[in-house]
């Protein structure tokens, strides 16, 4: 018999995520997958899951689940109060949840996205090799709704824990190392200087597609659109309003606005945890 989780509180936006779908960008299929991949990986490891097992990714307000059989769940990523039937239990460590009890991952105290790894993984049907919800093109399972039922795979033995797990703290300031190009030549010297020196903030309009910024507008050499070209994860695209957008995992595969620079991929986990209002700086790197 398969263990099932019933969603008793879906939260603002909770999606199923894994390592995403690669190799389909030429068909217009975004890569998708967990925005804070290191947090997903650590939660999976603590739950005894193999790398790439599907987890839940919450947004700011957490979510709550009721298993029909006893399961082990790890809540990681953005720190948040975790309870089982109202009693506090640890965040960032395996928690045994009895059948019929409700595990509630509360609102993030810092950061933005918490990850719930269930021992055995969430076993919805994969689409193009991945169980990830892709919010740009609608591939994969829908975001969680109240009453939705999620199948869980066969549980793995939960490993013996080290005394402490290396959870990075969500950033108070987001510093994004970038390499200029491929379209830095679309911007004036002033525009480039502004990009690399100005203080931006994370916009409330950010989502899984892109981290939008507020701040000064970057001056371009000329107006007009580029012929559509392929886009990479971490591309910093500058739409006509001049405010940089950092492409996250659900980004479109092609686009017509110039990419001024690309963020080093290892910095994107911090970007996934940067809540609206947090200061952002772009710094040159090799």
């Amino acid at each position: 018999m398969t263990t099932k989780l019933t969603v008793t509180r879906p939260g603002a936006l909770t999606t199923i995520q894994d390592a995403g779908r690669q190799g389909h960008a030429h068909l217009g299929v975004p890569r998708s997958g967990a925005l804070d991949a290191p947090a997903m990986d650590l939660a999976n490891r603590l739950a005894g899951n193999p790398e790439g097992s599907a987890v839940l990714e919450t947004t700011l307000t957490g979510c709550a689940l009721r298993p029909d059989r006893p399961v082990t769940i790890v809540v990681g990523g953005a720190p948040c109060p975790v309870t089982v039937d109202g009693r506090p239990v640890p965040w960032g460590a395996p928690v045994r949840v009895p059948a019929g009890a409700v595990l509630d991952a509360g609102p993030a105290t810092t950061g933005l996205r918490s990850y719930l790894a269930v021992s055995g993984g969430i076993e919805v049907d994969p689409v193009l090799g991945s169980r990830a919800t892709d919010l740009l093109s609608g591939l994969g399972p829908d975001p969680l709704t109240e009453g939705a039922v999620l199948p869980v795979g066969r549980a793995h033995p939960v490993p013996v824990l080290p005394a402490a797990a290396p959870w990075p703290a969500p950033p108070a300031e987001l510093v994004l190392p970038v390499r200029l190009g491929p379209r830095a030549d679309w911007f004036t010297q002033d525009g480039l200087r502004t990009f690399l020196t100005a203080a931006f903030t994370v916009s409330a309009h950010s989502n899984r597609i892109g981290l939008r910024t507020e701040g000064p507008s970057l001056e371009r050499v000329s107006e007009g659109e580029l012929p559509s070209e392929g886009m990479v994860l971490g591309a910093v695209q500058v739409p006509p309003d001049g405010r940089p957008v950092v492409f996250l995992h659900d980004h479109p595969t092609t686009g017509g606005y110039p990419v001024i620079a690309v963020v080093a991929p290892e910095a994107l986990a911090a970007a996934a945890q940067a809540a609206p209002g947090i200061p952002v700086r772009f710094t040159p790197s090799r």
């Binding site: 190799g23 559509s228 092609t254």
Partner: protein, 234 residues
Amino acid sequence: MSGGLVVRSVGRRALLVELPDAERTGALHAELLRRRAAGTLPPVAEIVPGARTVLLDGVPEPASLARRLADWDVPLAPPADGDVVTVPVVYDGPDLADVAALWGVAEDEVGALHSSYTYRVAFCGFAPGFGYLTGLPEELHVPRRATPRTRVPAGSVALAGPYSAVYPRATPGGWQIIGTMPDPSVLWDPARERAALLSPGVRVRYQLLSRGSAPDPAPQSPEGLGLPGARGTS
């Protein structure tokens, strides 16, 4: 390769190869696929064509690949023996009159003209399985609609700029809709081995259907296109 190939770095693990026109872009894309199939291309996770570029993403050694690309001899004409897909169309779109006026022909001549060319999927984007088809002569290029529609039905055959497309599913859209593909479910099916019917490099012919006539059972596709059962995604 001659003809103004420019290679730009994209972060630490990708290259954007820029070409002077759509024809050379298609040729380079075909050459990349040929070399990958032959096992002579260094590791590349994604090969993503654009209008005048090919993005190579997930490249462990981009500097070395960039140097090698400069020496490639790429035949200009893409091979003529590639896949050809036939897309049946009833030319009944809401923008038929506008397009007829822009083309300077009668409304009932739009379909005959549009279906008289062979197209090629230059690149995909916008939505899974949404192909941008080139092949319409320049004098027939039309602008996007001034006001985009909030919902363009699946199967809509539409034009914008140098491109022609068939919407794999209902989305908002600003293209000029000239017709309808009767069974659009074959355009995109992630459960199928080849999820997208119109993937980059595929050649396309539109087949004019008279209004109310029964369409062909399915787009005729050559062997090897991998369309078992042409299952719909509903």
